[in-house]
Symmetry: C2
Subunit: 282 residues, 2 copies
């Protein structure tokens, strides 16, 4: 019987560390600040924003939310991003995505200052993640997974890790971050054959495929670690991950739940990124 | 007994296609041109340059070689790159790497215009490879591997591909290009345990680890495809790959030799990139 490993203690530890760093900065008259840019009133965005604001406040990080109309044109959106780029009181910028259709992400992603880009929107940061250059900002979710693995002492060197999913939000950057920690990484996706068989050979399985309860115990080797990145809604309208948690607990050594797993660590990573950006700007 | 698959027919086919495209462009008064920037007189660079110039000439692509002194300072180097960026007669730029120590690649890589960057030096192109955005330019060597697989009808969808090596020149971009073609990709490296066992489960093995004849038949599943990207010198001073070619031929279905394998396709990919850049600039 495996152990359910929650995100909260990981988030608490990061928050505590960040808070101390912020206090040190404050003593020098430096006040780390996050600028959130939200277009429209999407429920997901507002819910994440609420969590992020609360976390920043706990860490002592200043925040400002720029709310832009859902029908804002691309030029005006770019102007707003540039204002935040130029605002020296702002150290980190978080732009909620996806952006509305009239805004071409392939254009605006180049606008946000890579030094302030907290969630790996700008290609400069994508390239840094690919290159293993730690001066950049990896996306918050795969970074949260790395924090969880570190906190629970899952050594990755030489371990076989299977990543289920190849999105730019999780799968691909996840694989690259794992590679940086010397894991042997396999990336599976919708076209993979015998996906359960491949996963069941792994020491660590990261599920980021976006299908409710797709990963059953046939995916899990005895004693493997399972990290569930999925956020889905099940047939009863309840939040659930990509993993059949109860079933996999029978074989896994460690497994993250949904909710209360990876998702609860992302805002702490965001806070950590803001302080990193603030220190780099000094 | 497997078949030795050479690079030449692949290079010839690409060259032929590129040549036709260049002829079409010439008819419209457009003349694709590659600018090579070489610092110093490194033998490897000069040898590759010779091959590249010959290939461009066969394709009808104009060339210019800018030779800079080995002790050029970073500022002067940057000025030269900018000149080529601004020269509208130049469509593609190839900068030989590694650059001498006084030039910080982490700075100058941002200078070369991503639209003219033929070998994935600029992070914009690294990010495009990561994102699977085909408007960019992947490095020539992993692109050559993809051309070989395509030419010899190796379907990659759902196939298990093991990449040996995680460099930015081959391993990582290779894995990302394979992922784009729907392969299930495993990346192995120096810290991988039981590397032969992992490779021997693969349908395709790409060896890019840089160790002379490291890959023996214990790495190769019966009927697997083996692509040898290594360029090494063996104990007798002869050029050899990462693969024990003769031994692996006994089990593989297809295998590329070294020399006369992947290496002979890279300049054709370069020519293809120059024409793509030229067409994009119209």
């Amino acid at each position: 019987m495996g152990e359910l490993i929650k995100g909260k203690p990981v988030a608490d530890k990061i928050t505590e560390d960040v808070k101390l760093e912020v206090e040190e900065l404050n003593k020098k008259g430096i006040f780390p600040k996050l600028q959130i840019i939200r277009v429209g009133e999407r429920e997901d965005d507002i819910s994440y924003e609420r969590g992020a604001l609360k976390r920043m406040s706990t860490c002592g990080i200043l925040t400002d939310v720029k709310t832009l109309p859902a029908d804002i044109c691309q030029d005006d959106f770019i102007k707003e991003v540039k204002k935040s780029n130029e605002d020296t009181s702002v150290h980190g910028i978080l732009i909620f995505r996806p952006l509305p259709k009239q805004i071409d992400e392939n254009i605006v992603k180049y606008i946000v200052d890579p030094k302030k880009d907290m969630d790996c929107f700008n290609p400069v940061n994508v390239a840094k993640v690919t290159e293993g250059d730690k001066t950049g900002y990896a996306p918050c979710t795969p970074s949260a997974v790395m924090e969880i693995l570190k906190y629970y002492n899952v050594d990755l060197t030489g371990k076989n890790v299977v990543v289920l999913g190849r999105s730019m939000v999780v799968g691909k950057p996840q694989a690259l971050l794992l590679l940086q920690e010397n894991a042997t990484v396999t990336i599976c996706h919708s076209k993979t054959k015998e996906i359960a068989k491949i996963a069941s050979a792994a020491d660590v399985v990261i599920a980021a495929i976006g299908k409710a309860k797709m990963v059953g115990k046939e995916f899990v080797k005895d004693g493997a670690v399972v990290i569930d990145v999925g956020i889905n809604v099940d047939e009863n309208g309840n939040l659930c991950g990509d993993v059949k948690t109860d079933e996999c607990l029978e074989v896994a050594s460690l497994i993250t739940p949904v909710p209360a797993g990876v998702g609860s660590v992302t805002t702490s990573v965001l806070a950590k990124h803001v302080v990193k950006a603030c220190k780099s700007a000094i």
